[in-house]
Symmetry: C2
Subunit: 303 residues, 2 copies
């Protein structure tokens, strides 16, 4: 099952040339989920061939402009392009007021159902639970209410060992029970243990998105053991005072989070515009968590 | 005196790859004026080396998102980059409400004076009158209140003919009177006619920005004889019904406007996303107004 994230924007509040404000597109079993939607996200989707029409869920972490200013334009384009299927937005409650006001003055009546779920930023909450994935909010510690998002794949059914199955007379109707782990006894009373007939499905993977936040142990437990951790790393650690003041994280701290929660891999992003090159940020994080990569526009990470 | 316009965005509501929503930067005697500010305008300024910090005036034609969704991000970046000098925004009144609401929820207090002038969309109004330029609003005919903008250079002072002046004993204090057109009589009573001593300054130029609008004679008189006319041309004329329905103009109609108002040059823009190539739009306009160019991102037109 496909489970991958494409970086659409990696800059913090002030954009720099070729670094866009935050946005990420997740492809989970060919369904698209958008996390944050900074200005220019539409153009980034065009650039990296992410079909906006295929997005059904949008998650907005908080109401700093670099995380949502591309949303009204995107919603409007989907409308103009004839969307009819519902779009679900998970966001801080005031975002609806902002969107409604802008549509009021542009005299726009969106022609598809826009469904909102307002996130309680104070506690982890299950937002989505479908056949593929469970998505929870992660309360973060920023200057204004802010949540990250945790995507946990569901355990899938076991896989039939086709070559083996074909040698036994098993009714097709029984296959779904095999996939769920049941044994099979044939008409002669011969027992086949389930693990002779099926293979375990892949280990369910998890992805945690943590931006923007102060380094704070409060969210560590929830993201324990994730396969991929995206964590903001706005500054180098020599600016840790500034990071604390603005409720951001340094590259070193992001790596410490990854190490502490035993993530398999770390991607850092949300870089301050002061860093034209990102090597120092990467080196700093790798000094304590070697499996670190940079969030670069257009890069796709398989989870 | 420099008087030129750089195209930052040329697309209509739905962006396409490499065509950004509407924005233009005017350089008038090394002062920058921004017209409209579609999403991504900041990135476009970075791309084309337009220094946002040098902008003192922003003009917003109307409240369709493709003309202003980049503004809050721009205002925020100027704030984060330490701007202290005032910024003047000329816009429809509700824009302030939209901006204030977004800054309220991002808990942003802009550290420079943000001065608003709300435009009356029903009649031409003088918005700016400084040493270089007079700027007026142009009432247009769109689905929601919308104005264009007319930039008329002021007539400059006459230029001293240095070689001639140096042969005569003229007090330096008298130079400013010569520049204004006065004659000079020397101590022997000899009269020098002004045109012996000075040259006329360049003819003042004018630029009209007309987007978005239905083809409508009401604004023709105001923009009569402009040196450069930017006019929206959302559709080819085979879609004139759609143009009328959505209160837009076809390429043919834009050219007709240019011909009727005796513009010296026409630039068409605000292209529908349906036109991947723009040749047909250009050819159609040139069929009746040969001095037509396309608004292409990054292109600068000297007025």
């Amino acid at each position: 099952m496909k489970f991958e994230v494409t970086i659409l924007g990696s800059s913090s509040a002030t954009p720099i040339f070729n670094r866009n404000p935050t946005s990420q597109a997740l492809n989970i079993n060919e369904r698209l989920y958008l996390i944050d939607c900074g200005e220019g996200t539409q153009q980034q989707m065009l650039r990296f061939d992410i079909k906006a029409s295929r997005i059904d869920y949008i998650f907005i972490s908080h109401l700093h402009g670099d995380h949502y200013l591309g949303l009204v334009g995107l919603l409007s384009s989907l409308h103009l392009n004839g969307r009819t299927k519902p779009l679900h937005i998970f966001c801080p409650a005031p975002l609806k007021e902002i969107i409604d006001l802008q549509f009021k003055y542009s005299e726009t009546t969106i022609q598809y159902p826009l469904e909102y779920t307002f996130i309680d930023p104070t506690q982890p909450t299950k937002l989505v639970d479908n056949q593929d994935i469970i998505i929870e909010s992660i309360p973060l510690d920023h200057r204004i209410p802010c949540t990250g998002f945790l995507f946990r794949q569901k355990k899938r059914l076991r896989k039939l060992i086709k070559d083996k199955i074909e040698t036994i007379d098993i009714p097709v109707e029984y296959y779904s029970r095999l996939k769920k782990g049941e044994d099979f006894t044939d008409s002669n009373g011969k027992l086949y243990k389930n693990d002779e007939l099926t293979l375990d499905s892949e280990r369910p993977k998890a992805y945690a998105y943590c931006s923007d936040t102060l380094f704070n142990e409060a969210y560590f437990n929830q993201i324990s053991g994730v396969d991929l951790l995206y964590h903001e790393a706005t500054f180098l650690h020599n600016m840790v005072d500034r990071a604390v003041e603005t409720h951001h994280t340094t590259a070193l701290q992001a790596a410490e989070v990854a190490a502490r929660v035993k993530a398999r891999k770390l991607v850092i992003g949300h870089f301050s515009a002061r860093y034209k090159a990102l090597t120092e940020l990467l080196d700093e994080a790798r000094s304590i968590f070697s499996e670190t990569e940079l969030a670069i526009e257009g890069k796709t990470f398989v989870i």
